[in-house]
Amino acid sequence: MLEAKNLEFYYQEKQKFNIPDISLSPGEQLLIIGASGSGKTTVLNMLGGLLKPLKGEITIDGTSLYSLSGASLDKFRGKNIGIIFQKPHILSPLTVEENLKLANYFSGKEGNKIDSILKELGIFDKKHSKVTTLSEGEAQRVSIARALANGPKVILADEPTASLDDVNAENVVKLLKEQAEKFNAALVIVTHDQRVKDHISNQITMGGLV
């Protein structure tokens, strides 16, 4: 499902990131742990089709990610990859429902599962709320819902628990696991949050620079 081979990336040539190969089958989960500056967010950006690696190849469901370019890469990302950030980044002029619909619109997928996703994440009653009225935990759940709206094959989460309290952090990790299993999607979580470690056994530690 998700393969990353021989990835190479650096911002300055002397400081290359040491990037391990990744191979995940559908439903499999992976935790990438590492200190700040170890390049774990960089890896996630590369996996998400947001940052082109200098060398190496990433394939998702048989498609080589960076053989696509421009709008077709954008469409592919929208359809197959759900990305969750440290901050929810909900589009504030839109309601919760509209945020999810926008994901459907941009990817070109007709999503009729919006209600069921919202129900499962326990935010169905916030369907018509603006993001400004949501709590931190609710907002993060909306961003998960948005990442799931297109039924992605790969779910990427960048420090999804960093700004949450213990209860919410545990909820979010559980939800991510549950939903990834339900969608049979590969889940990659990047974190340095100790609270996440116990939940996913498949772990890679990034050691920083070569």
Binding site: N45, L50, G70
Partner: protein, 408 residues
């Protein structure tokens, strides 16, 4: 959800900003709309009213004043001319027809104009009811006069001396309404038309009742009898193009009359007004440019706050082209609404101006006329919107998603 709706949502998320930008642009466009409407209608009206009149002859004075008073009935006459001088002109071979006009009285601000049937025929004026005047003190009312003053065929009224403002009333001779014209949409609507004889007899001191019962002249000049009679002005139609060259010069140099050409004087008037119009146009353009700048600044500033939003849209599958369109659409929606509001305001302004002026030149304008030029306004406004949003849209197009999302 679609691009238009997305841009709209972002606009109404900042109602004050959006409202101000729309209002600013609307103000500029409203001024342009009013100018276009007034200019078009004035020019239309002016040409319509002066149709078929090649030359106006009256007492010496300002030629523009002569035209305004005799053709458009808005200024005061330059004075009177002797009937003898006028009759002399009828013998000129360059003249095809002469329509005499006699002015000097009004009723409730509406001018009473003495003339003959040729004046009605000049404008192809038909009667809505009643018949044309036949005896002295018979009058035919313009459609608006009848409507505004609520006069019907068979009604009597007493004219006042003077034009526009009344000094004393001629209480001895009431006028009798014999006919009402159909709506003409020209200067006739605001006139009370009667025979030259009515105007003469009103100002006579002696009252010869026998004269009052005689039929009036329906074409040419009436018989003055043994009195020294006067007219106010003459509307002349040329017999041939040669007349345009010879007749005005002949009249101006060899008689104590003055000849003025409506088309020449009106183009001179528009030239004079043009300076003012240009000035207002310039002001409107400045406002529109400022509105464009304001939209540009608003979009550019909001872009700073929205870089995350744009990056998130990209992660959801939006292409950079869609982000470009998203910002352009915001500019276009703003200016499109601005144009609509502006045009509505323009028509509203004009209707207020028209309603404040019951009589006179402005009152004949209509605010409910829509011109093709107004569609151009819509077009220009959208161009302003695209121009103003081009740079912000380009910035959005170039958003580096990874960089934007990584820095927090």
């Amino acid at each position: 959800m679609n691009m238009l709706k997305l841009s709209w949502k972002y606009l109404i998320a900042k109602p004050l900003n959006t409202g101000l930008n729309i209002l600013l642009l609307a103000l500029g466009l409203a001024i342009i709309t009013v100018l276009i409407l007034i200019q078009d209608q004035f020019e239309n009206k002016m040409t319509k009213d002066s149709q078929g009149i090649d030359l106006v002859v009256g007492a010496k004075g300002s030629p523009l004043q002569l035209i305004l008073s005799s053709v458009y009935h808005i200024d005061f006459p330059t004075g009177n001319i002797d009937l003898e001088d006028a009759t002399a002109l009828t013998r000129n071979r360059l003249v095809k027809n002469i329509i005499p006009l006699g002015m000097g009285d009004n009723y409730q601000g509406y001018r009473i104009v003495g003339t003959n049937y040729d004046y009605l025929d000049l404008y192809d004026a038909g009667l809505l009811e009643g018949k044309r005047w036949e005896k002295p003190f018979d009058v035919v009312l313009g459609n608006e006069v009848a409507a505004k003053l609520d006069l019907k065929v068979g009604d009597n009224f007493i004219g006042s001396h003077g034009i526009g403002s009344s000094s004393h009333e001629h209480d001895e001779h009431p006028y009798l309404v014999t006919g009402i014209l159909e709506p003409m949409n020209n200067v006739l609507d605001k006139l009370v038309l009667t025979s030259i004889e009515s105007v003469w007899y009103t100002h006579d001191d002696e009252h010869d009742h026998e004269k009052f019962e005689a039929s009036v002249a329906t074409s040419g000049f009436p018989d003055p009898g043994d009195e020294d009679r006067e007219l106010t002005s003459l509307l002349i139609q040329y017999r041939n193009p040669m007349a345009a060259v010879q007749l005005p010069r002949m009249i101006n140099s060899r008689t104590n009359l003055q000849a003025a050409s409506p088309s020449f004087e009106i183009s001179r008037l528009f030239e004079l007004l043009g300076i003012g119009v240009k000035l207002i146009q310039g002001l409107a353009l400045v406002i529109i440019v400022i509105a464009g700048l304001s939209i540009f600044i608003a979009l550019f500033n909001s872009l700073k706050e929205r870089k995350y939003d744009l990056a998130v849209m990209r992660t959801l599958g939006a292409s950079s082209g869609q982000l470009f369109l998203h910002i352009i659409l915001e500019g276009v929606i703003l200016t499109f609404l601005g144009a609509l509001v502006g045009m509505a305001m323009g028509h509203l302004f004009l209707s207020i101006i028209v309603n404040l002026n019951e009589q006179g030149a402005i009152s004949s304008l209509s605010a409910s006329v829509f011109l093709i030029e107004e569609l151009y306004i819509l077009g220009y406004a959208v161009v302003v919107g695209i121009l103003a949003s081009l740079i912000p849209a380009w910035t959005a197009y170039q958003t580096d998603i990874a960089k934007q999302l990584t820095k927090s």
